[in-house]
Structures are given as C-alpha cells and as structure tokens.
C-alpha cells in the first residue's frame, strides 16, 4: 500500500506543478486500490477482534500461551478491556456476588454429569479439597460446573446414557 501511496503522491505533485492532466486517472485508480486495501485490512483486524472476544467465552479469562503468542500488544490490551467490562457487567447482575454467565452455555439437565477422560490430564481438584486423577479412559461422576471448562477444552467428554 505504501508503494501505491508514494507513487500517487509523486504523480499528484507532478500534476499540480507540471499541469499533466492525464495523470489524474492513474491517481484515481491508485486511490481506489488504496481504499480497497484499507477496507480489507480493517475487515481482517475486526474479524480477529471478534475471534478474541469468542476466546474469552471459550477459554476463560486466562488465555493459553500459544494463543497469546499470536496476538499483538494492542489486541491484548483490547482483550483486557473486554474482560474488564464483561466482569463489571457480570458483577452488576444477580445480587451481591454477581452471576457468572460464561458457564452453562446450554440449559443444564442435572447437577452431576458422567464424564469420560479422553487424554491424560493429571490431578484435578474437586470442591471439597480432594483431587481426582484424570487418566485416559477413566470415567467419573462429577458436579457439572467443575467439568464444563475441561469439556470445552476437550479433555473430558460428556457421556450420555
């Protein structure tokens, strides 16, 4: 884009100073290209922002390092802003404690669900302080809210029977 812009600029100067009116159409063409490229770039950046916003709903408030590596500093800043505004909104709902609306994306059917472990994950803490060892192909019956995060990450799989 820069090359196009510089060429355009030199032509404009020439036209203004030297009076060569034939250059106007080239200038116009380059200007249209510049505008189009700018629109494409803006659409791409906007799409990235939408995906980053979806990441907050998918992965929670801490992003894995692999994803963070691919985001620019400004995008990180935007993400933090979004996180903050979402948190303020959530706190304002539901009384004193606020309501975590990122859980229960689908209406829940029961308090506890049966899950199956798809890969070796390691120890996982349960509410009463004890932990469960998640090994491949072991099945567990755990409270739903603890498992949702892991189900979204693909470590656990909800077993319907």
């Amino acid at each position: 884009m820069k090359t196009l812009y510089e060429q355009n600029q030199s032509d404009v100067n020439e036209a203004k100073s030297g009076g060569r009116g034939a250059l106007i159409s080239t200038i116009k063409l380059r200007h249209c290209c510049l505008l189009r490229n700018r629109r494409c770039a803006a659409a791409y950046l906007y799409d990235r922002l939408l995906r980053i916003r979806a990441l907050r709903w998918e992965c929670g408030s801490v992003l894995p390092n692999a994803l963070r590596f691919h985001m620019s500093a400004e995008e990180m800043e935007w993400f933090n802003h979004y996180k903050k505004s979402l948190a303020t909104y959530m706190r304002s709902l539901g009384g004193d404690e606020g309501l975590d609306i990122t859980q229960d994306m689908k209406p829940p059917k029961s308090l506890y669900i049966e899950v199956r472990c798809l890969k070796d994950y390691g120890e996982f803490e349960v509410d009463d302080g004890t932990s469960v060892l998640l090994k491949k192909n072991s099945q567990h019956f755990l409270p739903r809210w603890k498992c949702e995060q892991l189900i979204r990450q693909g470590v656990l799989e909800h077993v319907l029977s």
Binding site: Y112, R116, T130, S131, K135, K136, S138, Q139, H140, F141
Partner: protein
C-alpha cells in the same frame, strides 16, 4: 467380613462419600457396574471408574489413586487373594468386594475392619472355622515364659524341670499337629476354583431392596447371569435356580403385556421370559450359519467331517425346511416356517440325540424392530471387549463394551454382533482344523492343544475369555469325536500365542467335561506349583487363576512339571 445388610452397611455408608470403582474385564462385571452406576447417578454419589484387567493393573491404579479416596469398590476382582497383602492400603481405607470368584480368601473373610464382602452367605461357601486357621500367638509365649521360672530347691527343681520338659514337648507336638491340620484344611479349601452368584444379580438385589430397580437394571442382571452360563462358570442347576429368581422380577416389571386392555404400546421396552433355542445369534444370522457355528450343534453333528455335514442336511430335511430359506437371513425367512420353528427344531433335535436344544432365557424388545436374546448381548459385548485393538490402549475396548450395554448405543451393539459372528466362525474353523489334524494330544493326566503362530485368526484367541471359550468348545467337540473312553474324562490345557515380540503364550486350563460336573477348576493351584517348581517365567496376572502367560521357551518344562504334578 460378610456384609449382611447391603443397604445399611454398604450403600448408606458410601452414599455421602466419593468412591473408586475397580471393574474387572468381563461381561458380568460390566453389567454389575452399569447397575451400580445407575444407582449412584440417581443418588448423586461421586465416583470414579477404572477398568482393571489383572492384578498388576489393579496395584498400579490403586497406588495412583489411594491418596484421593477412602472407599474402594471392587467388582469381580479381589476376593480370592489376600487383598491387604497385595495392595498395602492405609489404615482407614475400606474395601467393598463384590466378586464371583471362589474360594474367598480366608483373610478377607475374617478381617473385620477393612474388607467388606458383598457376597450372599447362602452361596455354598464352606469357609473353614476361625479357630482352625488362626491361633493367638500370645498364648504360646505366655506359656513359654512360665517355663523359664526356676524352683527354689534342687530336688524340686529337677522334678520341676522334667515336668517342664514334658510340657514343652507336648505343646510343640500339639502345635505341629495343629499346623499340619491347618495346612490340610487350607489346601482342601483353596484347591478348586469355582464361581458363585453373578455380581450383576447381587447389585440388582441391592437395587430391589432399596426399591430403585428398573427394567433396564433387570436386563443387566439377566445379561450378567447369562454370561456366567455362556462361559460355563456355573452349574446348570444354579443357572435354572437363578433364572427362576429373575423370572419373578421380570413378571413383576413386565406384567402389563398380559393385560389386554392396558397393554403397553408395541415399541415400549419389555423383557419376556422365553424357552428359546440354544443356537447362538440365530435371530441376527441365518439359521444355517447359526447351526454350524453354535458349539452344541456343531459338536453333536460333528460338523468338521463330511459325514457330519450330511447329517445336518438330513436334520434340515427332517424338519421340512428348504435349504434356500435356511441359508438366508433369519428375519427374511417365511413366516409360516418361523411360526413353529422352536417346537419343530426341538422335536427333530431329540431324534438326532440333542436333548437340550431349548434353554430358559429372556429376551428384550424395544422400538419396533429391536429384539435381542440375552445370549446375543453376551456374545456381542464379549467380542467388543476382546476384539484385537489396532492402536490405543486396551481400555478403549472396555469403554466400547460398556457403552454397548446402554439402550441408546444400538449401533455399537450391532457392531458387536458382527464381531461376535466373526469370532464364532473363527472358533469353529479352528476347532475343525485342530480335530482334523489331531492337534489335541493326551499328555497323561490331561489333554493338551497348542495353536501355532500362523493359524488363521489366532490373534482373536489371545485374550482369556475368547481362549477359554475356544478351549471349552474344543473339549466338548473332542469328547464327541473321540472313541477313547478314558480321554473323555480328561481336562484340557490349551495354549495360544500372545505376543510375537515378547515370545509369550497364553495358557488356559479347563476342567473335564462331564454331565454333572460342578465346574470346579484345579488348574489355578496346579499352574502356580508347576511354575514355582521349574522357575518358569510366568505371569499370573488374570483374576481367574487358571489363565496364565508364559514364555514360549519355558513351555515344555512347564508342561512336564504339570504332568508329574497331576499324575
């Protein structure tokens, strides 16, 4: 110790806790596990389920999880060995063991605090009395302490000494006699392995006591019992008794079918008692295939010989069933032929010497076209569980098999049925080749057969349940085919290659095939002794002690030791 009130001493104890379930790899354990899972899900008991295929897996899984749980439930594993010795648990760990393996180890029976056995005591257990086996060690030490006191006067001392010496020798002799008696009692008790009531039935009983039993749970109990019958683990009489028990439950849950006015819609689940044919998978296969691949008919007709094939044709002609009809899928057979099929087959079978063609069993109907006999489900689940896996750990198969027992996973069940057909065909072909090439040789006190590496489908027989089924069928066919009267009463030891890289074979020993056999198997102890005697590299990993893994090089010396042990 034995738990007398399952509800109070077992269920209510674990209801508010998190438990760890260890489940062994057989269909009965899977069914018991499904029933227990259903109960736990109803009451929101948090549990973790770990499949274990042998003692080593049980130990490793226990070590990994023992910090996190206090209550452990073992299904179809752990009753026949000293659990505390093997697992070395903490003081406050409590084990609930629901196992069909007998004899129950005496330490498990008499431990009051940590081991609770979920086993009905009216199963003929014959546990030796406490005093015959355990003796208070402190009694002896107190007596020997008294003996070291000295008297005051020399003459008194001498008579005192003499008396003491006499006392000591008497005590030592008594102790030796007691120990000899103890060894005899324990040897008699632990000599034979057999199986008790199905764990699935025990769990169903628990559910019934709590009034939480459902038709689905009843079906799982039926499948568990049928698995024991298919694998010849229980006697015919016990099977019939248990079927009677389940029949009462079935009529209680499914009585609405008889009532004409309030009958359930056709596609609702219902379980019905059937006096149906003994042919494996016949409703999902063609009648001809089923007749050829069921052990009972194949052995009686001697289908490995040309003469046998002719007899089969005679049999079909006798009933008036055209070959074309019989060879197509059962569901597409003419309705007029299917109507009286069972009675026709029973009559003709009687003429050909097969008196027990029909057997008491149950079937389940749900949806408009899904109908399964209990034995169909048993074969399907067994094949799913023991299918040779291409990659991934063995527990994938376990999970598949567990899923196939739910009614919503019918595609897995049908897949299992296809695998079962393959397995049955392979079994019959292997038997035919073994008998035609005289691979079954008599070693003296037992028969021996070994499958070579290059035999087709040999990879299907490396797992214990498939190999046991193959050996039982082989023995039955051999008994029908041989003229040697002595050989008919011999037990069979069978070996199949397990892993090429490690050079191991799986070896299985099954008791002799007699009409009134009580299915007691002495090969567990025999294998142990033979292995010790010859220092063979064996792995007694399976919960059934009569199945071992052995290095191929040690095979001949192991067999020699076994021959000398048993003759």
């Amino acid at each position: 110790m034995f738990v007398s009130d399952f509800r109070k001493e077992f269920y209510e104890v674990v209801q508010s806790q998190r438990v760890l379930l260890f489940v062994a790899w057989d269909v009965d354990a899977l069914c018991a596990c499904k029933i227990l899972q259903a109960l736990f899900q109803c009451d929101h008991v948090q549990y973790t389920l770990i499949p274990v295929s042998g003692w080593q897996e049980l130990e490793t899984a226990f070590l990994e999880h023992k910090e996190q749980f206090r209550y452990f439930i073992l299904i179809n594993c752990g009753a026949n060995v000293d659990l505390l010795d093997i697992l070395q648990p903490d003081e406050d760990a409590i084990f609930f063991v629901c196992d069909t393996h007998r004899p129950v180890n005496v330490v498990n029976v008499y431990n009051d605090t940590q081991i609770k056995l979920l086993i009905k005591q009216d199963d003929d257990l014959e546990v030796p009395a406490y005093d015959d086996i355990f003796r208070d060690e402190q009694e002896d030490e107190a007596h020997s302490g008294n003996e070291s006191d000295n008297g005051s006067e020399p003459s008194e001392k001498r008579t005192r000494l003499e008396e003491e010496i006499v006392e000591q020798t008497m005590k030592r002799r008594q102790r030796r006699e007691w120990e000899a008696r103890r060894r005899d009692i324990l040897f008699d008790y632990e000599q034979y392995e057999y199986h008790g009531t199905s764990s699935a039935m025990v769990m169903f009983d628990l559910a019934w006591m709590m009034s939480k039993d459902l038709n689905d749970m009843l079906w799982w109990a039926i499948v568990g019992l049928t698995d024991q019958w298919v694998q010849d683990k229980i006697t015919q009489m016990k099977y019939v008794t248990d079927i009677g028990v389940l029949q009462r439950h079935a009529s209680r849950h499914n009585h609405r079918n008889e009532d004409e006015e309030n009958a359930l819609s056709v596609d609702c689940t219902r379980i019905s008692f059937e006096y149906d044919l003994r042919l494996a998978l016949y409703q999902h296969w063609s009648l001809h295939d089923s007749l050829c691949n069921t052990c009972y008919t194949a052995a009686r007709f001697k289908l490995w010989s040309v003469h046998g094939q002719k007899r089969l044709q005679e049999f079909l002609a006798d009933m008036g069933l055209p070959l074309k009809q019989v060879k197509q899928k059962f569901q597409s057979m003419d309705i007029s032929l299917k109507e009286n099929l069972r009675e026709m087959i029973e009559e003709s079978a009687n003429k050909f010497g097969m008196k027990d063609m029909r057997v008491q069993t149950f079937s389940i109907h749900f949806g408009f076209k899904h109908k399964f006999l209990a034995s169909d489900v048993v074969f399907a689940t067994m094949s799913l569980m023991e299918s040779p896996e291409k990659d991934g750990s063995g527990t994938d198969n376990f999970i598949q098999a567990l899923d196939s027992l739910s009614r919503s996973n019918l595609d897995k069940l049908y897949h299992g049925l296809e695998l079962a057909k393959k397995q049955l065909r392979a079994t019959q072909q292997t038997i035919a080749s073994c008998l035609c090439t005289n691979l079954v040789i008599s070693q003296g006190p037992f028969l021996y057969c070994s499958l070579m590496e290059g035999t087709p489908d040999v990879v299907l027989f490396s797992k214990p349940a498939s190999l046991s089924l193959l050996s039982r069928h082989l023995l039955k066919s051999f008994v029908c085919s041989t003229k040697n009267r002595r050989c008919k009463l011999l037990p069979l030891v069978m070996a199949a290659p397990l892993s090429m890289e490690q050079g191991t074979v799986t070896m299985v020993g099954i008791p002799p095939e007699t009409d009134g056999s009580d299915r007691k198997n002495f090969f567990g102890r025999a294998f142990e002794k033979a292995a010790e005697g010859t220092n063979s590299r064996t792995l007694h990993n399976h919960f059934d002690l009569s199945v071992i893994e052995l290095k191929a090089e040690d095979r001949s010396k192991f067999l020699d030791a076994l021959v000398s042990l048993l003759s």
